[in-house]
């Protein structure tokens, strides 16, 4: 039986992942900001897993709450086998260029708050000698583009942070999974127009559950074809790349 904390449990990707894990007899501690949404997600998972999930309301921007949240999770679950960090916010790039508060808020939400939660969970897992950490980065972090580089920078930072954790913790028996979804049809992207490259949250959820069940950590692109698309995007020489309108 796996005991799993999901931070950002009301996100579409988190919910899709949790439903798969529920079938594998996981027990959950769910953390989110919105109480009504969290109650609906928790009720659904209680029925699907036959265990009542623990719930915790927290605004992740308040990093001083992070340790208290983890302590509550440990008390509820009686241990910790996995943590999925699934929240994020797609900022308005144009607004971030003129409103520095919005720019800093985007970095705070997508990078800084994530780092402290991951580090605290990593410390616990390192001391117990097992566990899986999952962080959701993005293909947007693979190369900064003019249309989306604030979000991209946060996700690139998160990917580097996870990479370092993976490097540090592999000797301690802790696995670290970096998930890089492409375009996902979810509430976060409701204002963007969709095309054939778009994936459903369920596809990403399956990829995450699969990576968690595997024996190694690593970087997972979801859906898989993004690995090859981003390989090409990263290979474009900078003098050419700066002329592209991406």
């Amino acid at each position: 039986m796996k005991r799993i904390v999901i931070v950002g449990a009301t996100s579409a990707i988190a919910e899709a992942t949790a439903r798969i894990l529920a079938q594998q007899d996981a027990r959950f501690f769910l953390v989110a900001r919105n109480k009504e949404r969290l109650a609906l997600v928790a009720a659904d998972l209680a029925l699907r897993s036959s265990h009542e999930p623990g719930t915790y309301i927290m605004d992740c921007s308040d990093w001083t709450m992070h340790q208290a949240m983890l302590d509550a999770a440990l008390a509820h679950l009686g241990g910790l086998d996995g943590l999925i960090l699934a929240y994020g916010d797609l900022p308005d790039q144009a607004r971030c260029q003129s409103d520095m508060k919005a720019l800093r808020q985007a970095l705070e939400t997508n990078l800084l708050s994530a780092c402290t939660i991951l580090q605290l969970a990593a410390n616990h897992m390192a001391s117990q000698g097992h566990g899986v950490l999952v962080g959701i980065s993005s293909v947007a972090g693979d190369r900064g583009r003019q249309s989306n580089y604030v979000y991209g920078a946060a996700k690139a930072g998160l990917a580097a942070f996870l990479s370092g954790l993976r490097n540090q913790l592999q000797a301690k028996g802790v696995r670290v999974v970096t998930v890089k979804p492409g375009f996902v049809d979810s509430p976060m992207t409701k204002d963007l127009s969709k095309n054939a490259l778009w994936a459903q949250p369920e596809q990403v959820g399956r990829a995450i559950a699969q990576a968690m069940a595997g024996r190694r950590g690593g970087v997972v692109y979801a859906p898989w074809f993004w690995r090859w698309i981003m390989l090409v995007v990263r290979a474009i020489p900078e003098p050419l790349f700066i002329r592209l309108r991406l």
Partner: protein
């Protein structure tokens, strides 16, 4: 994704946007949409799930199961839950849907809005007969709890209300206790409509499920031939094979229709004679019995870019034989073929829905490839015949009904109009109301 067509891919839509609703209490009707329409999985054939020049509120993400009482079999779920998701959850615990249409891909919200029916209509009535309560969100008042016992009319307006009365948040459904996933199914070929009626009324007493396929392209001397299936849920301890495991999909819309009258004529004749030679009783898995077409995802794409039209009508008993003969005759002579011509005798159990389609009589469903204006003209002539015989057309499968035909078949339409949420409308509603 952008165009969001209906299942029949007819009529085409030009301007329509979609907005995903992830939590049922956040549909926010009427805040920024000039006209919105709640939509589930888009399984309706015609235009009752379309909103030309408006917005669709896409409710599929609201598919959470909220409560289940394993003793009584009452399930509470959000309205975007599909029937498939309910079966996957409830069947291992010994419960099945009380009523199911021929696909399990529809949502609970869609099943209520169209008050769907199934092969057990003669025994169980419509889907709406098994809904215990639901929560309705509107743009002009606070969320309401609706039950069939209340006298305020919101329940009756919403069941079969075509999604117009508001956004259904969650629903309590009374599920049916079953012993296992299997059905005991008998197949009986019949040579004429008269034989069908005799067989059907003899079967309705002892079988919970009856349905017939009729060969609509049979030569004149064997007009009305077909096969009747009758079935019950299998008793405890029955052990069958685990059903069809394969799943195919039509990945793209074909550039031309793959199904024409000649192919259908040949297929139908082969199918009928094959079944005639070996009538059977067997233990069937529920998926094969209820949902044969769900094994081919997007089968509607076989009909090509112009799509197809489905006609489903119900005819009062007195006129049914004559009108169905006439419809089959016209199908055969005009080469308007259909793999799926389905006959069923509806029962007497009344639905709580004011505009419910099923009513005592005989229902016939046909799908017809869209071959241009002659198809539309022929179908309009069918509609006139049905209208004159006092029959009704099923809105969930309709794209052609006139205002007069709709209002005659659904006399309580004006009461629904009075209950319509001012922020909600649909392509079908604009066509048949006013």
């Amino acid at each position: 994704m952008n165009r969001l067509p209906s299942f029949g891919r007819y009529p085409p839509v030009h301007q329509q946007s979609g907005r995903r609703v992830s939590f049922h209490h956040e549909a926010a009707l009427g805040t920024d949409d000039s006209s919105a329409l709640p939509r589930g999985n888009g399984c309706s054939y015609g235009d009752c799930c379309l909103n030309e020049s408006g917005t669709l509120l896409l409710g599929r993400p609201c598919n959470r199961l909220l409560a289940f009482d394993a003793k009584s079999g009452v399930l509470r779920c959000e309205a975007g839950t599909t029937l498939e998701e309910i079966i996957d959850f409830a069947l291992p615990q010994g419960f099945f849907l009380p009523v199911t249409p021929g696909t399990r891909l529809v949502t609970v919200g869609g099943a209520i809005a169209n008050d769907v029916h199934g092969k057990n209509h003669h025994a169980a009535g419509t889907f709406g007969c098994h809904v215990l309560r639901f929560k309705l969100w509107r743009s002009d008042r606070r969320p309401m709890l609706c039950t069939p016992q209340q006298k305020d009319g919101w329940f009756g307006a919403t069941v079969a209300g075509l999604g117009l009365t508001g956004w259904v948040g969650w629903v309590d459904i009374q599920l049916l206790r079953v012993a296992n996933p299997f059905m005991v199914v008998e197949e009986h070929p019949f040579g004429s409509l008269e034989e069908f009626f005799a067989l059907s009324s003899a079967s309705d007493r002892d079988f919970d499920y009856t349905v017939a396929w009729v060969d609509c392209l049979a030569p004149a001397r064997s007009r009305g031939r077909g096969i009747l299936w009758r079935a019950n849920h299998a008793p405890p301890l029955a052990k069958g094979s685990s059903g069809i495991r394969w799943q195919a999909a039509i990945p793209w819309e074909l550039p031309f229709p793959a199904v024409g009258a000649r192919r259908i004529r040949a297929f139908n004749a082969l199918y009928y004679h094959w079944k005639r030679l070996r009538p059977t009783t067997r233990l069937a898995h529920y998926k094969g019995f209820f949902y044969p077409l769900d094994h081919i995802a997007h089968w509607n794409r076989l009909y090509g870019p112009r799509g197809f039209l489905q006609l489903q009508c119900v005819l009062p008993h007195g006129h049914a034989t004559f009108v169905i003969h006439e419809l089959l005759e016209r199908c055969a002579t005009q080469g308007m073929g259909s793999f799926l011509a389905v006959l069923k005798v509806f029962g007497e159990r009344a639905s709580p829905g004011w505009l419910s389609f099923p009513r005592p009589g005989v229902t016939l469903a046909l799908d017809v490839p869209h071959q241009g204006s002659q198809t539309i003209a022929a179908l309009r002539a069918f509609y006139t015949l049905i209208h004159e015989a006092g029959g009704a057309i099923y809105p969930a499968k309709d794209a052609l009904m006139t205002k007069e035909q709709f209002q005659a078949a659904y006399p309580r339409w004006a009461e629904l109009a009075a209950r319509r949420d001012p922020a909600i409308s649909s392509s079908l509603w604009r066509r048949v109301s006013a």
